[in-house]
C-alpha cells in the first residue's frame, strides 16, 4: 500500500496537518492499515523534498498544515489512472513457503496446508463478523476494503484446497515419491 499516494489523495481535497491526515487515512481504509504519526511525518517530509507537497504556517498549537503542489496533483492523478501491476505487490510468502515445503525433504505438506487453512478461516470469520457488525448505512469505503479482504481470504482458502487436490493426485500417480 502506498501511503504516499493515499496521503496525496487526501491532500488533494484541501490542506491538512499530520494528525488530521492520519485520522482520515484510517477512517477511509476502515482502520485496516493503522498508521503511526511518525510514518505520516516521514512521508510528508519526503514528499516535500520531492516537491509534491508544501508546508504552511505553524498554527498556535504548533501544527503545520501541508498542501498539495501542482506536481503533487499530477502524481495523484497518474496514480488513479494507472493500474497496479503484479510486480508492485509484495511477494506472496505463503506461495513461497508451500513451494519450499513440497521440495524440502521431511516436511508434512498436508500439515502446512491445514495449519494455514485454519488460520485463514479464522481471519475470514473475524472479517465476516466485522462486516456483520457495521451499522447501516454502511460506509462505502470501509465496506469495499472489508470485501476486498474477504475475497482475498476466500481466494487463499480455494487455492489451499487446490494445492491439496494437486498433491493428493500426484501421490496417487507417483506413490514412489512418498517417503
Amino acid at each position: 500500500m502506498s501511503i504516499r499516494h493515499g496521503l496525496l489523495a487526501l491532500l488533494s481535497q484541501g490542506s491538512r496537518h499530520g494528525y488530521q491526515l492520519r485520522a482520515e487515512f484510517e477512517a477511509s481504509t476502515g482502520a485496516t492499515w493503522p498508521l503511526n504519526i511518525g510514518q505520516v511525518y516521514t512521508t510528508l517530509s519526503r514528499m516535500e523534498r520531492d516537491g509534491l507537497v508544501a508546508p504552511g504556517e505553524q498554527d498556535e498549537q504548533g501544527r503545520i498544515a501541508y498542501s498539495i503542489t501542482q506536481d503533487g496533483r499530477a502524481e495523484v492523478d497518474r496514480w488513479f489512472v494507472t493500474p497496479i501491476t503484479q510486480t508492485e505487490r509484495p511477494r506472496d510468502e505463503l506461495a513461497i513457503k508451500l513451494a519450499m515445503a513440497v521440495t524440502a525433504p521431511g516436511v508434512d505438506v498436508t500439515q502446512v496446508v491445514q495449519a494455514q487453512r485454519t488460520a485463514t478461516m479464522r481471519t475470514l470469520q473475524d472479517l465476516t463478523r466485522v462486516k456483520r457488525g457495521l451499522d447501516p448505512p454502511l460506509d462505502t469505503a470501509q465496506t469495499l476494503i472489508l470485501d476486498s479482504k474477504i475475497f482475498q481470504a476466500e481466494a487463499e482458502l480455494r487455492w489451499l484446497d487446490h494445492c491439496e487436490a494437486v498433491l493428493s493426485r500426484r501421490s496417487l500417480q507417483h506413490p514412489q515419491e512418498q517417503q
Binding site: 491445514q114 472479517l127 474477504i150 476466500e154
Partner: protein, 251 residues
C-alpha cells in the same frame, strides 16, 4: 497474500455457561458398504453443538460431511458411538419416536429444497406443523409469523414456481424454522444461489443461532463458513482441525 494487520474485531458474544447442549456426538462411526468394500464414512467423531452456536462443516467431497449432518439429525444411524439431541439418546430409539423427534425438534434445509409445487409458500411452511397435529388455523398463524420474520410475508400466497430461487430457498428455511425447532441442519443451503442471496440465507441462519438455536451447516464455500462460530474440517471421516472465531476457544 492476506494482510494480517489486526483489524478492529468486535468481541465474540459472551458464552453463557448455562447454555444447553443441543447435539452431542460421541465417538460416532458410520460404515457404508459399497459392493464388497466397507467404506468408513465417519471414524469416531466427537462433536458438541451448543444452543446459540453456528457450526460449519467443511471438507473435500466424500469426507463425510453429509453423513455427519444426517446422523446428527436422526436421518441416519451411527454404527457405533452415541448421539444425543437435546439430551435424548437416539441410538436405540424406535423408528416412530425417531421420526417424531425429527419432526418436532429438527429443521432441515437441503440444496434441493423440495417445496411441494401444488402448495403455496405458507402452506408449505405449515405442513410440518400440521403433521405434528397442530390445528390448521394455529399452524397458519405460526407459518405467517416465520415468513414475516424472514421478510416474505407478502409472498405467502404464491406458489413455488412464482418465486425466485432465493425466495424459494428462504421459504424452505422458514419451513425448517417453524415450530421453535432448536436444531437446524443445513446441507449446502446456498446451492446455486448468487453471492448476495447466499449472504441473505446465512444472515437468516446466523440470526436463528443468535436467537438460541443450534445450527449445523455443511458448505464448500469458505465465504459462508466465515459466518460460523466454529468451522470443523473433515477429512476421510475424521475431524482434522477446527477454527474458532476470535481468540477465545469456545470449549
Amino acid at each position: 497474500m492476506i494482510d494480517r494487520d489486526p483489524s478492529p474485531v468486535p468481541p465474540v458474544a459472551e458464552v453463557d455457561p448455562g447454555r444447553a447442549l443441543v447435539v452431542e456426538l460421541a465417538d460416532v462411526s458410520r460404515v457404508h458398504v459399497e459392493g464388497t468394500q466397507a467404506v468408513h464414512a465417519l471414524k469416531e467423531i466427537s462433536l458438541n453443538v451448543w444452543a446459540g452456536e453456528l457450526i460449519a462443516v467443511m471438507g473435500p467431497s466424500g469426507s463425510g460431511k453429509s453423513t455427519l449432518l444426517n446422523i446428527a439429525g436422526g436421518l441416519d444411524r451411527a454404527a457405533s458411538g452415541h448421539v444425543r439431541v437435546e439430551g435424548e439418546l437416539l441410538d436405540r430409539l424406535p423408528p416412530s419416536r425417531l421420526a417424531a423427534l425429527r419432526r418436532k425438534r429438527v429443521g432441515y434445509v437441503f440444496q434441493d429444497l423440495n417445496l411441494i409445487p401444488s402448495l403455496t409458500a405458507v402452506e408449505n411452511v405449515m405442513l410440518p406443523r400440521e403433521l405434528d397435529g397442530v390445528r390448521t388455523a394455529k399452524a397458519r398463524q405460526e407459518a405467517l409469523a416465520v415468513l414475516d420474520e424472514i421478510g416474505l410475508a407478502d409472498l405467502a400466497g404464491r406458489f413455488p414456481d412464482e418465486l425466485s430461487g432465493g425466495q424459494r430457498q428462504r421459504v424452505a428455511i422458514a419451513r425448517a424454522l417453524v415450530g421453535e425447532r432448536r436444531l437446524i441442519l443445513a446441507d449446502e443451503p446456498t446451492g446455486a444461489l448468487d453471492t448476495a442471496t447466499g449472504d441473505d440465507i446465512l444472515r437468516l441462519l446466523r440470526a436463528r443461532a443468535d436467537a438460541g438455536a443450534a445450527v449445523l451447516l455443511v458448505t464448500h464455500e469458505p465465504r459462508y463458513a466465515g459466518w460460523a462460530d466454529r468451522v470443523v474440517f473433515l477429512r476421510d471421516g475424521q475431524i482434522v482441525d477446527s477454527a474458532t472465531a476470535g481468540l477465545v476457544s469456545a470449549r
